[in-house]
Amino acid sequence: MDLDKCIACGACSDKCPKRIPNEYNEGLDKRKAAYVRYAQAVPLKYGIDAENCIYFQKGKCKACQKFCPTGAVNYEQQEEVRDIQVGSVIISAGFKPFDPTPYVQYSYANFTNVVTALEFERILAASGPWMGHLVRPSDEAEPKKIAWIQCVGSREVNTCDHPYCSAVCCMYAIKEAVIAKEHSHTDLDAAIFFMDMRTFGKDFERYYEGAQEDGVRFIRSRIHSISELEDRSLQIEYATEDGQARVETFDMVVLSQGLETAPETIELCQKLDIDLSPGKFISTSCFEPVTTSRPGVYVCGALAGPKDIPLSVMEASAAACAAAGKLSSARGSLAQEQEFPEERPVAGDVPRVGVFVCSCGINIAGVVDVEAVAEYAKTLPYVTYVRNNLFSCSQDTQDKMAEVIAEEGLNRVVVAACTPRTHEPLFQETLVNAGLNKYLFEMANIRNQDSWVHSGDPEAATEKAMDLVRMAVAKAALLAPLQEVQLEVTPGAMVIGGGVSGMNAALNLAAQGYSCHLVERDNALGGNARSLRVTAQNQPIAPYLEELRERIEAEPLITVHLNTVIKEGEGFVGNFKTTLAGDSGEEVVEHGVTLICTGAGEYKPSEYLYGEDPRVMTHLEIDQAVLGGDLDLSEVNKAVFIQCVGSRDPEHPYCSKVCCTHSVESALAIKEANPEAQVVILYRDIRTFGERELLYKEARSKGVLFVRYDLEHKPEVKATDDGLMVTVRDHVLDRDLLIEADLVGLATAIVSHKSNDLAQMFKIPMDSDGWFLEAHQKLRPVDFATDGVFMAGLAHYPKPLEEAVAQAQAAVARAVTVLSSKEMMLPGTVATIDQRKCVGCGVCWTVCPYQAIDQDENGLAVVNEALCKGCGTCVASCRSGAPNLRGFTNQGVMAQILAL
């Protein structure tokens, strides 16, 4: 397929006679041999699958070529081999969902209504085989009862050699159950069969609790077998926790398949001489979480160990930081800045509006009479040019539009097509290429808001399209060119917090060539890590901290401020001004970006004799005592660890993520020092996610005992004459166990510092637990909605050291996207205040979600254009009509309404 010619009209696919299973929908429906992977694919270009194409296989057909309107089909295309020179490589080849087909115990191959979780995603999806209707495959009837089976291909060594936990399946199963209940027309009975519920991420525990409240059933059991009944329903045999055999029938069973590395990816890694972990993921050190064993090659995402989307995105930015670290001298040497023609002045000219009506293949033209809309547009005031395009967004049409704008001397452009959300930037770029200010543009959405929703009534849809075009033209005639504010960027950073995240952030900034101020309120760098013994890979942390400190000291680009706090902060992206207060008085520092790495604290419990008996210690206290030589693990004979102390309870309704692994590590260290020691871990769910599961497995094999308790029956600790006595309710035996102990370790929660002052100074939000709230939980995990401020480490949420390091690198990568631009252009669509109308009542600066409005010396409102995001809240709130939003002026909006 010639990508420059393909306009993604879909004619090739319509006419292609060959139907094959559609991999995008996991084979639940069919696609053609000429196809596009999915409707929103990027690039949106059709391709021919030569393995299934009749022409390629049998030499005849060519239907696609015959019907392609642009001559894009080219059967002569050959594979090209290109040698390219790069400074570094990032491998992000991802994972493969575990395929349960070969394993009889899952009954996947034989029973139609046993589906994989990914198949179930497609069943739920509006773009899936049943358009989002919840049905089961055998008879397309709506299931009333669905079971999810967890740990399919995870935590399983007997059949599939996957000793690790896939880390995401608990959460996605809960999500699928919740969404399925939403889709269901009946009261869907959703049951999840699990071993440990691992909801360890930010807001995951709340999601789990929400699902329980919604009636999702959680059954702690590894199922025995699945059998099929005559009506294709499925019978599950399982044992309850207290050992009773049960049988239950479900309409459908979903297998929560784990993540594994694809064989071809393993081959690629071997070819590149990159070391793999025991679970066949790329092996990395906790201290360098995105660095592979091969110098210059970095890794991110699920290929570096099973993980969810936010962590993958975080690591992706981290890998970008690491990959760029050694290349900073060549920054900008190959990437080219785009050049644009000079802007044509239009002020004072009579509007000459050009209207482009898009057919969007048959998306719009199949319902709306686009020719009639185009003819109608010609009759509207100021319209001097009208054209109908098959696909307005295709590259050739864009080029044509730029030509027409210049030739016809158009000074306003209206595109009647799809949504500005996705396509406005594209058309604005075309305007800029034609020498027009990009704000002289308006879109009418005659697809999403018209042809798609009124497909049953073409006549009315055509009429509505005319209305929408008339409104857009009325507004367009009033549009004025807007100037974007240019901001200089101060090329330095402020890193607040000198723990592992802050230290790594500072070092990575320096590696990229940027100076930074590293501010720490304590008298030494290191943060919580100073009280930590080892990483999850059993690497000692103290030497690592020492190395970081030495590197920071030797780095001229880093200025360290110890015993220093932030007194005042003001400014905005590119131009922050922060007042530090330290031993030597106050100092004002100017910086372009701010990195919040302020960490978190350890919860101090008021139960389990903590603070009363010295043998009851928190994790950090045990580690500290061992590091300081005050505690000899070989002298510990009877240790009990209690999990979830202060976590997953009403006060802290979240999982602290690191404590299960920490207890297992400590248990192993005790067993190592004294193999005869009795070590018991009292837990609610063991959450050794990812390859930490191997530690859990090792601990069990070495004789560490795990006893589950629940929140209603918390363990009790009592001091006796010979030591400590821990009482816990055993679920299997349904009776109290009495365990003697000479050391009780409390896996205490990680709690937020709740830094309200920082939140206010840097205009960054906090959630109800006190964690700073990122711009987007999935896609912008280290950014804030406030530009130029980023975060890393425990200030975001409890996390292990390797994630803090990765997050620090990620925050640097994101910060460098700001620092590397000498100046920034801010959008022209910002609010202005007509001070003649302003009475200084204060409503606008109260409602402004970006704190972009200040009071001037006369008490009147002024907009800080660098902070304004153009949301329009101030305009809507003002009683005197003083604010106006450029690009969406009151006059423009009124003209649109009056035109209707």
Binding site: V42, V86, G94, C300, L327, T817
Partner: protein, 61 residues
């Protein structure tokens, strides 16, 4: 004096799922040329097959 080692200001990213896309964007936005290599005909990876995402129930697309 040792000659400064010449480096190439370009990075190859292998795999165009959510991680690869984010790496590529960050690198391109900080001044490096990026080759994003993807074996399938569209970028997006497994995330493009997901319906909603936890814990916010946002649409994956």
């Amino acid at each position: 004096m040792a000659k400064a080692k010449q480096v190439t200001g370009a990075v190859m990213v292998v795999g165009g799922g959510i991680a690869g896309m984010q790496s590529a964007l960050d690198l391109a936005n900080s001044g490096y040329y990026v080759y994003l290599v993807e074996k399938s005909p569209a970028i997006g990876g497994v995330m493009s097959q997901l319906d909603k995402t936890f814990p916010t129930n946002d649409c994956a697309m």
